[in-house]
């Protein structure tokens, strides 16, 4: 078993065993989506129209907040030092951590989103499409967020700094994610183009994210 797989499996195991694991992200997602009607009112037509936007914003916030601990935990107990001294390039190590994070935090969001879509009165046939856009777009959120997580560990700051750094970078993902989801519900704009761009953003971030994050970690070395 090589180092990349070992790190991936370890991070999945840690995520599942510590702190409620996958469920915490899904729970936060549920809570954020529940908050929206209290602010907007229970008008079902309104909720149905902005449902995809609410789901996307909830997924974005849930993914971001969980990224906070991605490097911080390893930094705090000295594991990060050793991860940089393995035979594996730091870019790959960082990518392994990001994949583990996506599997244990973002994927549960995708799975839970149909239930939340029901609560927001999104049409049944559109719920699947919204979940699909989340499936295609959450990798981008994770891998872009990775950069922010690396920067905030390198700068020894936490919490809101990560959100401040990462949110602007995720604007394209949000735009095309919601556009694709809306196209699926409302028509007439076709679903294809925004969805394809969303997939492209995810693929691009799969490459750029680890390189930028590794650079940020190295930059953080004194």
């Amino acid at each position: 078993m090589n180092a990349f797989v070992a790190l991936l499996l370890r991070d999945i195991r840690l995520s599942v065993r510590v702190g409620g694991g996958a469920l915490m992200g899904a729970l936060f997602f549920l809570i954020v989506v529940t908050m929206m009607p209290f602010a907007l009112g229970p008008d079902l037509n309104l909720l149905a129209r902005i449902g995809p936007a609410i789901l996307w914003l909830g997924a974005l916030l849930a993914t971001l907040l969980a990224l906070d601990r991605l490097f911080a935990a390893d930094h705090d107990d000295g594991s990060l030092d050793l991860l940089m001294m393995g035979g594996t390039p730091l870019e790959l190590a960082v990518a392994a951590k990001a994949i583990a994070h996506w599997l244990t935090t973002a994927l549960p969001l995708v799975v839970v989103s149909p239930v939340l879509g029901l609560m927001l009165n999104v049409e049944l046939r559109a719920i699947g499409m919204v979940a699909l856009t989340l499936l295609a777009g959450t990798p981008a959120l994770t891998f872009i967020g990775l950069i922010g997580a690396a920067l905030s560990v390198a700068l020894r700051r936490g919490g809101l700094l990560l959100a401040v750094l990462v949110l602007p970078l995720t604007v394209p993902v949000l735009i095309f994610g919601v556009a694709a989801a809306n196209a699926a519900i409302v028509g007439p704009a076709p679903f294809g183009p925004p969805f394809t761009i969303l997939c492209a953003l995810s693929l691009a971030s799969l490459v750029l994210g680890p390189f930028a994050a590794a650079a940020a970690l190295r930059f953080g070395l004194e």
């Binding site: 510590v18 702190g19 409620g20 915490m24 729970l27 549920l30 809570i31 529940t34 009607p37 209290f38 009112g41 229970p42 008008d43 079902l44 909720l47 029901l118 609560m119 927001l120 009165n121």
Partner: protein, 243 residues
Amino acid sequence: MAAIYLANPSRFLTLVNRVLPWLAAITIALFAIGLVRTLHAPDDYQQGATVKIMFIHVPAAWLSMMGWGVMSVAALGTLVWRHPLADVAGKAAAPVGAAFTFICLVTGSLWGRPTWGTYWVWDARLTSVLVMFLLYLGVLALYWTAEDPGRGSRAAAVLTLVGAVNIPIIKFSVDWWNTLHQPASILRMGGNAIDPSILWPLLIMAAAFTLLFFTLHLGAMRNEILRRRVRSMRIMQAQEARA
């Protein structure tokens, strides 16, 4: 008093082992009677047979609140009276209460579907239950993610008591929020005045659910005590290896 006598976990376990089979048997019997009476109860003139979901939905709602009550008493036991088994009682009650709340939400949603046309309409009652469900999940998160069971229990106890104070306020504000936006015609889930042919099955089902709660609760308390014993043994194992 009984509480002090039972403060010893071993004595408590012995008692639970003796009582639990009887409790379970009575619960099953009550469910059997209740379900039979439910089937014989009359259909609603508007909703047809779907109204019978009420026989599960309403007791589940009562129990979700009773569950929080049990947790609150346990929380007071942990923080104020320092009863040794209080935190075990609280930690055991939380998942059971949460499960009943979830059943209430799901049955409410299913009941609403033929009535409203959608699975969820953010009506005042169900929305309050939803918020209470979120509070339950928060308490569960505190119990289960704390590394040190003692500290986690105390934190959860604080949140439980805060929730107990807050739940009526939440209910009131959600009701008020709902009246701001209430469209004219929404069918009331409660239906009409309670007729005896509906009241008796409802009460029997409520009793059955209550006994089910305590059966599960005592079983969960037993599991938690055993779990803590395993933890102590592991700590001892680590300490012995040091010597």
